[in-house]
């Protein structure tokens, strides 16, 4: 037989993946040879994330296709790689003090975050369904373990089990969808699928459509869209708080990036069929997220429902699928990262060993003991609620404008109405902080790393709200 020529390998475009993997393995191996003090691992992981972010700039003249069109480096992927590296770095920073307090002494924690980041980068850069599947699984498997990393805590266990079983279940749907797409178009590459649909090379239309529905389910689960969201509140509550924050940002952003890519690059031709589906999903996601959050008394569950609602807004960007909406998606996720890590940073600070103070009641009177913390929390919450001139408002405005441009007026009205409703429960927390007497003493250790994260997040939330232009320019360079 003929010798098979080696496929075109472009390791440079793969640089962030390689760098992050190497550092992940390095953390894993180093952990074997050090004692109880894990700070060196923190240092290695942060270095790795920094290097990973820098290495994503290795390619210029974007977009660059490599690996026979299975991998792409374009503005979307580079921007998202930055978001992932920032969010993973923030996650590690908030974890340091938390892990010390709660006695989580496993070095794998940090390497899992790095591996998870690898998966996210793959997800944002993959243009082949096999790669997308691999990315999703790398992310998910790392998260299953991270959610259950407190092995002796029944809540953490339960969260891991629920997440794992439902996640694997959803993976089944996702895979089946990909298979049907593959079977009816004959390729796993997004571009080829698109051209097959365009040129009428579809073997079976019903199978194709069923594949699309199955894809929506699989991806909908990963981003926690209703009705595939039900794991989110439970898992968010049970997982260690830094992991919850991490989960709410990075993996969600990565799945959304893949979601966007598949729907805008592989099957834009089918948009008449899936637009209505995504509209329905988006609307019920917003409603269920916001209504569910109103009655919550646990701050982590409240934030879980709120993040479900935010996914509802973000799906609108996928539906709009114009250039404005892709940059809106990127911008939104960046601001979301800051808002979420800021909020969770404060949630972590308020906790004590053995008592995490997760009831909203426990925030009563925070403004009198720690006015700056309360003010920061207020800024984050108001930004999440979309109040100008904070970053959350600009992000929402962008997404909604993108959708309006495509004429989705009713969808936007519903979204704006929802964001008005959402302020109600964010306000509830603020009311507790400013207008109630403390129910018990605050016993806050102002751990420097967590404070650092909060400071960065404050800066990001305000900076991106008042001077968003430079970042927006970056986001829409394509």
């Amino acid at each position: 037989m003929e010798p098979i020529t080696a496929p075109a390998i472009d390791l440079v475009s793969l640089a962030p993946v390689l760098v992050l993997s190497v550092f992940g393995i390095m953390v894993l191996v180093t952990d074997l040879f050090i004692g109880k003090d894990k700070s060196v691992l923190v240092f290695i992981s942060l270095t790795g994330l920094l290097m990973g972010a820098i290495s994503s700039l290795a390619k210029y003249n974007l977009p660059v296709h490599s690996f026979n069109g299975a991998y792409i480096v374009d503005h979307l992927s580079v921007f998202f790689t930055f978001i992932f590296c920032i969010s993973s770095a923030l996650a590690i920073l908030v974890s340091v003090d938390f892990n010390k307090r709660e006695g989580i002494k496993v070095g794998e924690y940090y390497s899992l975050i790095l591996f998870c980041t690898v998966g996210m980068v793959l997800l944002a850069s993959a243009t082949d369904m096999i790669m997308i599947f691999l990315g999703i699984e790398i992310v998910s498997i790392s998260l299953y373990v991270l959610a259950g990393i407190r092995r002796n805590d029944p809540k953490s266990n339960e969260a891991a089990l629920k997440y794992f079983l439902l996640g694997a279940f959803a993976t089944g749907f996702l895979l089946y969808g990909m298979t049907l797409l593959y079977g009816s178009t004959g390729s796993t590459k997004l571009v080829m699928i698109a051209s097959a649909i365009r040129n009428g090379g579809v073997a079976s239309e019903p199978l194709l459509l069923m594949g699309v529905v199955l894809l929506i389910i699989g991806l909908g689960f990963k981003v926690a869209a209703v009705p595939f969201h039900m794991w989110a509140p439970d898992v968010y509550q049970g997982a260690p708080t830094p992991v919850t924050a991490f989960m709410a940002v990075g993996p969600k952003a990565a799945s959304l990036a893949a979601f966007y890519r598949i729907f805008s690059e592989a099957i834009p031709q089918l948009s008449p069929s899936w637009e209505i589906l995504l509209c329905v999903v988006s609307v019920i996601t917003m409603f269920v997220g916001n209504l569910g959050a109103i009655m919550q008394t646990n701050i982590k569950r409240l934030l879980a429902f709120s993040s479900v609602a935010h996914v509802g807004y973000l799906i609108i960007a996928i539906i709009a699928k114009n250039s404005l909406s892709s940059s809106a998606l990127m911008f939104y996720m960046l601001t979301y990262a800051f808002m979420i890590f800021g909020t969770f940073g404060i949630v972590i600070l308020l906790g004590r060993k053995g008592d995490e103070n997760l009831e909203i009641e426990n925030y009563s009177g925070l403004a009198y003991k720690h006015p700056v913390l309360a003010l920061s929390m207020t800024i984050f919450l108001l930004s999440l609620g979309g109040l100008p001139p904070l970053a959350g408002f600009v992000a929402k405005f962008f997404v909604f404008s993108a959708a309006l441009k495509e004429g989705f007026l009713i969808l936007v009205i519903i979204a704006v109405l929802n964001s008005a409703v959402s302020l109600y429960y964010y306000l509830k927390v603020i009311v507790f902080m400013y207008m109630k007497d403390p129910v018990k003493e605050f016993d806050i250790t102002l751990s420097p790393m967590t404070l650092f994260v909060i400071a960065i997040s404050i800066f990001g939330t305000i900076q991106l709200g008042i001077f968003p232009d430079s970042i927006i320019a970056l986001a829409q360079a394509n």
Partner: protein, 118 residues
């Protein structure tokens, strides 16, 4: 247009029918006469001496899991083995890298004590 869905629809219905049917049928067709003696574990006419639910040591699971993991990775050797000649040096180096990464995994398991039985 709708005809083309007919096939897929029938297929779905039959799939659901068979799967659901199996669940329903077992509960319907299976006899359900229960009496005390029947619910006893049967051990050649003798009353059971110990509980039949013996717990396996967690070690077994650990070994099983490790086995599954490393075993399944071997699946990637097969295509390489078949096309060994054609792939040439490129394939060889790739496979070395693959084994290296697996080796790191093995090292990790070893140092963690996953291979110690006692």
């Amino acid at each position: 247009m709708l005809e083309s869905y007919l096939g897929a629809g029938i297929m779905m219905l039959m799939a659901i029918g068979i799967a659901g049917g199996m669940v329903v049928m077992t509960s319907m067709l299976g006899p359900k006469r229960e009496f005390a003696d029947k619910m006893e574990p049967f051990e050649c006419g003798e009353s059971p001496i110990v509980s039949p639910h013996q717990r396996f040591s967690v070690k077994f699971y650990l070994v099983a899991v490790l086995f599954v993991l490393f075993d399944i990775e071997a699946v990637f050797f097969f295509p390489w083995a078949i096309l060994f000649k054609q792939l040439g040096m490129f394939g060889f180096i790739e496979m070395l890298l693959f084994i290296l990464i697996l080796g790191v995994g093995l090292l990790y398991v070893w140092k963690r004590g996953g291979l110690d039985w006692e």
